[in-house]
């Protein structure tokens, strides 16, 4: 081998993807379809020669051998396996003629010489196709044997590192490790006591004990609920123009926190969220799981077409299902066959059909202590209510029946009578407005025969009617003296104790037909479809037409190739900053290939073996040496593996907006760690809520100001500014991975926001309290440890003490400034220390989990 060819070979090896290399006979590397060819075809060719029937050019599809080797209109065949010169594809990608060359220059696509070479070798080697990896069930494989390594995860990772000639990172020091694992499992930093206990714990299972304690902490549920709420796209308001409040939305959030804390198995977690209402003898808690599907936006603006926005909600539920469980971007198939993944438009609407006959309906979900008081009072309320309505019972019932009948008629005969069109519209727009109730519940009740309605349904319908009487009835209304009765009923209702409600779902009263929407437009129904799952995935089991419940069970069935993989990948992403599949939202053809396919499959199977226990799989991962590695970057890795695909070290990750808040409050001693309850509003400048329509942010008072970020009210049109600045995702759609940006606004926020300045004051006061009478150096040591949980290095200490000295002098010379800095601070706090505390709370190290 000449030097030149050796150089080329080394170059080629450097370019080779980071995965197991194979060598075919004749020393020519074997091309593998999924690994080498598919990414090229998907990026460069499938837009016109893929799965999408409507956009297919020249009748050619390259996504299957049957398609690519078929005789085309031109009489040629794109690919003749093993015969390069007979393959039209090879001619066309090498053509000089702009009319003939593929891809066409106008598309902006162009094949690189390497890509052409790959295609060449693939055709020469027989053009073998493979099924897309993610649609094949996980493959059980024994972790490779690596001397001295026990943990299965480490065996996968270390075997690969050894093959790549890269060493793992040393273990992180104990203080870093306990901060990391505490943040990862609870979203909060450990206390100094916890750090010291762990650092000094010489028992061999010291770390396991810490992990066990954290998994049992109530804060575990909060941290992992926030992770899940990104997928659910949880919010406390309707969205759209008026963005009405949903004061009961938090009940779903609470359900998620509780579910993680009681370690509800992920299969049940899935089933209850998608179809809890359909479970036999469903409990209130099971129905509350369907609150997951209630995080879609609601438009209540006048003129909004109820059906259009209902369809939008169903589309959102379909896409959220696709993102959350399938890890597929199904949304494209709303308007056309998916160009890259085998989901046809028909299949998309077959998934849609599972949700099309489910409507929003809140349920009675009394909080502890509410039911008894309510039931007692309700008996008397019912009696008095009946008494008030008794004199007009018969004519009123007639009036109501007339109204119901006209509503039903109007729904099927729009445009005949404007006033009734409007009455129907308002029933949908205003039903339960500002209460977070389902918009169509009223209409659904009307469709239930009177005899079959529950007393609560009938009561709610009457209440609505009494308060939204159409003009046409006003004379009759007054005649019956209902205008006098209504205020009395209202007064009566006021005295009724609260019976809290929670968002849920119900089967629609009247069955809707399911249609494909041509080009995704709801006014252009195409073929009728029934609920079904995509053909490329395992068959769904059902008696008769499959239901939402069947769909949920299908997702967590053992043969399903996606759900477990998609889920463990996201858990991995949370613990390493990057999924084994980096595109955690997309396991489809255009998504990234797994960096460690065997490990991903092992985790997916382990997750199921352990009964879909989230705590158990998290425990497995955080107990690995791989997880415990130092996150420090190494020069040889920076070049070799800048994205850390090999996991030859841990990752430094900027904290989420919520965690930045929680950690600042925690170390400064301000945090109110109460778990659960309705949303709260920490203070923020009034200007923020003025950027939304008619929503005034009234800050909570007292201890509620210091709650964890997960409890902060999410007003969709003007969310809490600090979180937005720190990349909280838009709550209008499902998000699988947050951005981690680094901006000047974040700096301004942490330096100047009164919330964080108050934390600095409180931290200064805490240090002075806890290290009273000690030297500056000792106090600094304490402050530094409170924030970063480690001792300062000597030069860090010197620099900070130097700064403290200068600040002191400045504030001594400027008494008014010192007074300002100490405004509202605990007595005895020193201005210089506030300035110092603020520096510590802005340190990059504090803002990261290392």
């Amino acid at each position: 081998m000449t030097h030149r060819s050796l150089g080329l070979l080394l170059f080629a090896l450097m370019l080779a993807p980071l995965t197991n290399r194979e060598v075919a006979a004749g020393d020519e590397p074997a091309v593998r379809f999924n690994r080498d060819v598919l990414p090229i075809l998907a990026d460069q060719c499938f837009a016109c020669h893929g799965f999408d029937n409507a956009k297919r050019e020249a009748g050619l599809r390259l996504d299957s051998l049957a398609g690519s080797s078929a005789v085309l209109e031109s009489g040629t065949r794109a690919i003749v396996p093993g015969d390069l010169t007979a393959s039209e594809l090879w001619k066309r990608i090498n053509s000089d003629d702009p009319e003939l060359v593929m891809p066409p220059p106008a598309t902006g696509h162009r094949l690189t010489p390497d890509q052409k070479e790959t295609l060449k070798r693939w055709i020469e080697q027989g053009a073998k196709y493979e099924a897309h990896w993610a649609f094949v069930p996980p493959h059980a494989e024994e972790p490779p044997v690596v001397a001295g390594v026990n943990h299965p995860i480490d065996r996968f990772i270390r075997a690969r590192l050894a093959a790549e000639g890269v060493g793992p990172a040393p273990a992180a020091d104990r203080a870093t490790l306990i901060r990391r694992v505490t943040l990862d499992l609870t979203g909060l930093p450990p206390t100094l006591l916890e750090v010291d206990a762990f650092v000094n714990d010489t028992r061999p299972d010291a770390y396991e004990r810490v992990v066990q304690r954290l998994l049992s902490s109530e804060h575990f549920g909060e941290r992992w609920a926030r992770w899940w709420l990104d997928l659910a796209h949880y919010g406390d308001s309707d969205g759209y123009l008026q963005d009405f409040l949903r004061p009961v939305a938090w009940r779903y959030r609470q359900w998620v926190v509780d579910a993680f804390n009681r370690n509800l198995s992920f299969d049940q977690f899935t089933i209850q969220q998608l179809a809890g209402d359909l479970l036999p003898n469903a409990t209130a808690s099971e129905i509350m799981g369907t609150g997951f599907l209630r995080n879609t936006l609601s438009n209540r603006e006048g003129g909004a077409d109820l059906e259009e926005y209902r369809v939008n909600q169903v589309l959102d539920r379909t896409m959220t299902l696709g993102t959350t469980w399938l890890g597929l971007t199904t949304g494209c198939a709303q308007c056309h066959d998916h160009k890259f993944d085998p989901i046809s438009q028909r299949e998309y609407y077959q998934l849609y059909a599972f949700f099309n006959n489910a409507d929003e309906a809140n349920i009675d979900a009394p909080l502890p202590g509410e039911r008894e008081a309510w039931e007692t009072a309700k008996k008397e309320y019912d009696r008095q209510r009946a008494e008030l309505l008794a004199p007009v019972a018969e004519p009123f019932a007639k009036l109501l029946a007339d109204w119901e009948q006209k509503i039903l008629y109007t729904e099927t005969h729009p445009g005949e009578d404007f006033a009734w069109d409007r009455t129907l519209e308002l029933l949908g727009l205003q039903w339960g407005q500002s209460l977070g109730e389902g918009q169509l519940e009223g209409l659904n009740i009307i469709k239930i025969p009177l005899a079959e309605r529950t007393p609560r349904q009938q009561e709610r319908l009457i209440d609505y009617f009494l308060h939204a009487v159409p003009a046409e009835y006003s004379a009759r209304f007054n005649e019956l003296k209902l205008n006098e009765i209504v205020p009395k009923l209202d007064a009566l209702a006021k005295n009724l104790p609260t019976l809290s409600r929670a968002p849920g779902l119900m089967k629609s009263t009247a069955r809707r037909h399911n249609h494909i929407f041509v080009r995704g437009e709801y006014l252009r129904p195409g073929d009728e479809v029934s609920p079904a799952t995509p053909a490329s995935l395992p068959a769904i089991q059902s008696d008769g037409e499959p239901t939402r419940l069947d769909l949920a069970r299908w997702l967590v069935s053992p043969e399903h190739p996606l759900t477990a993989r998609v889920t463990v990948n996201r858990l991995w992403q949370e613990l390493f900053g990057r999924g084994i599949v980096a595109t955690s939202e997309n396991f489809g053809v255009r998504g990234d290939r797994p960096a460690h396919p065997e490990l991903l499959d092992w985790l997916a199977l382990e997750f199921q073996r352990e009964g879909w226990s989230v705590k158990s799989i998290l425990r497995t991962i955080v107990l690995s040496e791989t997880y415990k590695q130092s996150s420090a970057d190494r020069p040889e890795l920076a070049e070799r593996d800048p994205l850390n695909k090999l996991v030859a070290r841990q990752a430094r990750l900027r904290l989420s907006g919520e965690a930045v808040r929680d950690c600042s409050l925690a170390v400064s001693g301000l945090l109110n760690p109460v778990v659960g309850g309705p949303s709260v509003k920490p203070p923020q400048p009034a200007s923020v809520s003025k950027e939304g329509y008619a929503n005034v942010w009234v800050a909570s008072t007292g201890p509620d100001r210091y709650r964890r970020g997960i409890y902060t009210f999410i007003q969709r049109t003007s969310p809490y500014a600090q979180f937005v600045t720190f990349d909280m995702p838009d709550a209008s759609r499902s998000c699988t991975r947050r951005e981690r940006s680094n901006t000047p606004l974040q700096a301004l926020n942490l330096l100047n926001d009164p919330v964080f300045f108050e934390a600095a004051q409180s931290l200064a006061a805490r240090v002075q309290r806890e290290a009273a009478g000690r030297s500056d150096a000792e106090r600094l040591n304490h402050a530094f440890r409170l924030v970063l949980l480690r001792e300062p290095l000597p030069h860090e200490s010197t620099r900070l003490l130097d700064y403290l000295g200068i600040q002191r002098k400045l504030f001594e010379q400027d008494a008014p400034a010192a007074k300002d800095v100490l405004r509202d601070a605990p007595p005895g706090t020193e201005a210089g220390w506030v300035a110092l505390a603020s520096v510590l709370l802005n340190l990059d190290e504090f803002l990261h989990r290392e």
Partner: protein, 464 residues
């Protein structure tokens, strides 16, 4: 197309962390000109005057003399089925505009008496009378105009422009937002209109207020002087550098840079607001000292000062044009607030030679109906939302001056000549900046997203 970590690594390697040059430049290696764009850019900066709520094109930009003959009568059925109103009336009665129109400038552009100042700038303006879209509710239509889709969760035009071209401004973000209204507050999708959607938050539009605290948390806490703040940053920088050596994480340099930019913003923001540097003549031209024009005038003057300082995209939102009722009074009021400052902005940019490199766009999310509004069965002085035909104007870098594009029917109900969809407008704006709208893509959730979704054609007819 690229994935998140590579961008993060890239940004970390730049001198000041955010958007010195979009990674997009590095990846779209081919087909770029020497300026790093797809075609020679005509515009460097954009000032987008967004007229939230939907201006009445029939009372401002699109005269319909024939409507007078049919005033108060049913609108011809051949045009349309009667339209249901957003507030519950049925709209069928023609409401002619009582506003007088006349030709202005050398070009003879016909404009309304309600905008006399803008009218004087007719020879600088390219008026498009044939805009249309399919969204009749505020939020979806506003989102379409800003983000290219009626759905929430996508980045706004200002983000796309900064993502594509980067920011050259060292002491302000490249995308600033200025709000004003007539006292009715925001009427629309709120901060989603300048949100970064699925892009990282450094592309997000930053609200800048013309009074009080200009940028959220830009003022140091009480008692923290500039010197104290500087000292805070110095010690932070030192400690962060120590830690960078320990961890080897290049992103820490980026955080240091972000803090430095924050510090510069703290002095740059008050400086931007300091109109004392402007001549009395300029102040009077924008009307920053007169009650009626103070708010929008200040925003227009700020817009000029921002583009002078290199801010790439300035986004003014005047949010009270949704005149379902009380049309005459509220049109007068809002025109009175905005007309003079807008004209001053054009004139001022021109006299400073900035109009050649600045694209000014004035548009709402839709227009208003030729039929009068009906409220609770009573005809009122108002117009409803009308997405099928409306007017917008552009001026400056690269667009024809003194030009009218497209036309509507006798009632302004439908476009009859040279229709321009919102996506076409967006494609044209990007084109003027040297960007091919089909090639400026952002990979998210396995798809390459564009500002123009899957549509849009550059309106060649209006290019100078």
């Amino acid at each position: 197309m690229f994935s998140m970590p590579s961008r993060r690594d890239f940004l970390a390697g730049t001198s000041h962390g955010i958007g010195a040059m979009a990674l997009w430049h590095l990846l779209a290696r081919e087909g770029l000109t020497a300026t790093g764009t797809h075609s020679a850019p005509r515009a460097k900066n954009v000032i987008f005057l967004f007229m939230m709520g939907g201006q009445s094109q029939l009372d401002l930009y699109d005269p319909k003399p024939k409507m007078k003959e049919l005033n108060g009568q049913p609108i011809p059925a051949h045009l349309t089925m009667a339209k249901k109103s957003a507030t519950g009336g049925i709209l069928e009665t023609v409401q002619a505009s009582p506003r007088k129109f006349q030709p202005y400038g050398q070009c003879g552009m016909e404009l309304s008496e309600l905008i006399p100042h803008t009218a004087k700038m007719a020879d600088e303006i390219c008026l498009i009378r044939s805009m249309h879209c399919e969204q009749a509710n505020h939020d979806p239509a506003q989102l379409l105009m800003h983000c290219g889709t009626p759905l929430f969760g996508n980045p706004s035009m200002g983000c796309w422009v900064n993502y594509g071209l980067g920011s050259e401004c060292q002491n302000m973000p490249g995308y600033l937002v200025l709000l004003s209204d007539d006292g009715h507050g925001i009427e629309g999708a709120g901060s989603s209109l300048w949100g970064s959607g699925f892009m990282p938050s450094n592309y997000r539009g930053v609200s800048f207020r013309n009074s009080g605290e200009p940028v959220l948390h830009i003022q140091s806490p009480r008692g923290i002087s500039a010197a104290t703040q500087r000292a805070r940053l110095d010690v932070l920088q030192d400690l962060n550098q120590i830690h960078q050596k320990a961890t080897g994480d290049a992103e820490i340099a980026s955080r240091i840079a972000a803090y430095e930019m924050a510090f510069r913003m703290q002095s740059a923001a008050p400086e931007l607001l300091d109109f004392g540097q402007e001549t009395a003549e300029t102040r009077a031209m924008y009307g920053v000292d007169a009650d009626q024009t103070r708010s929008f005038g200040s925003n227009c003057l700020l817009a000029r000062r921002m583009v002078e300082r290199g801010v790439r995209f300035v986004h003014l939102v005047h949010s009270t044009w949704d005149h379902h009722g009380d049309l005459t009074r509220r049109l007068q009021l809002n025109c009175g607030m905005t007309d003079q400052p807008m004209a001053a902005l054009l004139q001022d940019l021109k006299q400073r030679g900035l109009l050649d490199e600045t694209l000014v766009i004035c548009a709402g999310e839709f227009g208003r109906t030729p039929m009068g509004e009906v409220r609770r069965g009573v005809q009122s002085d108002g117009r409803d939302h009308h997405p099928f035909a409306f007017s917008i104007w552009m001026a400056g870098a690269g667009v024809k001056a003194g030009h009218v594009h497209g036309a509507t029917d006798d009632f302004g109900y439908n476009v009859v000549e040279k229709p321009v969809h919102v996506h076409d407008l967006q494609a044209t704006i990007l084109h003027l900046l040297g960007i091919n709208h089909e090639q400026l893509t952002y990979r998210h959730a396995g798809r390459d997203y564009r500002l123009t979704d899957v549509a849009g054609k550059v309106v060649e007819d209006i290019l100078a």
